[in-house]
Amino acid sequence: MSQATLEIRRISGHAGPVPGARTQRQEYEVCKLVDTTTCIGCKACEVACLEWNGYPFSETSFNNSYQTMPEPAWNYWNLIKFNEYEREDGSLMLLMRKDQCMHCEDPGCLEACPSDGAIVQYTNGIVDFQQDRCIGCGYCITGCPFDIPKFNPASKTVFKCTLCADRVGQGLEPACIKACPTGCLHFGTKVEMKELAETRAQQLREHSDFPNAGVYDPPGVGGTHVLYVLHDATKPEIYGGLPADPHIPWAVKLWKGPLKWLGNVAMVGGLLGIAVHFLRYGRKRIADAQDEERSQV
C-alpha cells in the first residue's frame, strides 16, 4: 500500500488523456470487506471515521431503531443501517450493514461530474472527491446508484467516504477498519478480500442456517472496492436498502452517451448549416424597394 497506488486512473470532466494512466506498474487494487454476519452494531467505525476525518458530529435522530441517523451526511460518511427482519419461519434477525461509498469500478459519480478533476479514481480503485475542484452542481448525486454523495450547503461542495486514501497512501488501513472490535471489517487487496469473503460465505452456507449466504460484489458497476458478506445474498434490499442490481442510471448513460453525441452533432451541424446557407444564398435583399428607400433599410 504505497503512494504509488494513488496514481490517477480515471478523472472526471477531463478533456484529453488521463495524466496518470499507464504510468505505473499495476500493483494491486485495495478493498474493504464488511462481514455483516459478525457486525454487532457498536458504531466504533462511525466514530473512528469522524475522528480521523475531523468533521463535526452531526445531530442524531431516534426512530425506534439503533441507527444513528436516517442516511449518511456530508460529514458522516459511514453509517450502520439497522433493520429488524422477519424470516419466513417467523424468527427475527437484526441486520446491520455499514453503509458507505462502495468505490465502484465504474463510478457513476465520476461519469456524471462536469468539473475537471473534481472526482478521480486511483489505480488502487479508490474513488475520491477533490473538493477544491468541485463546483457543487450535484451531478454526482444523480449519477450514484447507492445515494452516497452528500452536498454541504456551507461550502457548496459534495463529500463522501474517501476510503481513507490519505491513510492508504501511507500504508495504513482505513480508520473504520482499525476501530472494528469484532473483526467484521477487513482490508486488503481485492483478490484477497474476495477470497476471504467467499470462504466466509461458504462457511455460512455449509455450517450455519444460511443456505443463501453470499458475497455482494455487484457486476452492474464493474464490481466494487467494498464487499459485503450477507446472510442472504438473494435479498440485499433487506440490509437497509442495498440495491439488488446497481447500475449507473440509464438516464446518466443516455445523457453522457448518445444525447451528448447527438447534441454535439446538432450544434456543430447547425453552425455549419448557416455558414453553408450564407455562402449559397447570401443576404436577403428587399427587391421592390426604390433606391432612396433602400438606403434607409
Partner: protein, 226 residues
Amino acid sequence: MNEETLTSHPFVSRSQADRLPRYTLAERINHWLSALTYMYLLVTGLGFWSPYLFWLTALVGGGPVARFWHPWVGLFFTVSVVVMYSHWRRDMHTNTADRAWRQEIGHYIRNEDEHLPAVGKFNFGQKLWFWLMVYGTILLLLSGIGLWLVDVIPWELRALRYAAILVHVAAALVTIGGFIIHVYMSTVLEEGSFSSMVEGTVSKPWARHHHRLWYEQVTGKTGAKQ
C-alpha cells in the same frame, strides 16, 4: 410612439421620420434582457455540458461561480420570457396566412421572397421560435429546479433526478438550435432586422417586403388583402 420621438434616436444618426414603429422601448429592453441572460446561460451551460467546453466557465469567473449564478440567471431569464409572453402572445397565434406561408417556406429558405404569400406582423418562423422559447423555458425552469435542489429530492423519488437532467439537456439543445437560426437571421441574413430591435423602427420597404399585411394595416395603404 408619436412623430416627435421618431425623429431622433440616441444611437442612430439617420432620421426616424419616415420609418414605422415596430417594437416599443419596453419590448426592446426586455428582448435584450432575455438575450443577455440567455447567452450567460448558454456559455455556462455549455461549460457544464462537455469537458471540452469547461473552459467557457473561466470566462465568467470559474466553475463554482458559474454554477452559483446559472440558476439565478435562469430565473431572471424566465421572468424576461414571461414579460415577452405578455408583450407578444396576441401577435403569435398562427392564422391562415401563416399556413399558406409555411407551405412555401422553401422559397423563404432560398431567398426567393417574391414567391411568398403576404403575412402579418410576425411570420410563421418567428411564431415557431416564440412558442419554442415559451415552452422550452417552462421545461428548462421545471427541470432546472430539479437540478438545483437535487440533494433534497429523496432517494425514493430519484426518477425526478433522472428526468430533470434529461429534460434540461434536451430542452436546452432545442432552444440552442433555434437560437443559432435566430441570431443568424436577425444579424446576418436580413438587413434591417437587427436595427429594428435597436431603434424599434423599420423602413417602409422592409415592412412591405417582409410583413406586407402588417404594413398595409399600419399604413392604411391598400387594405385589399386581409
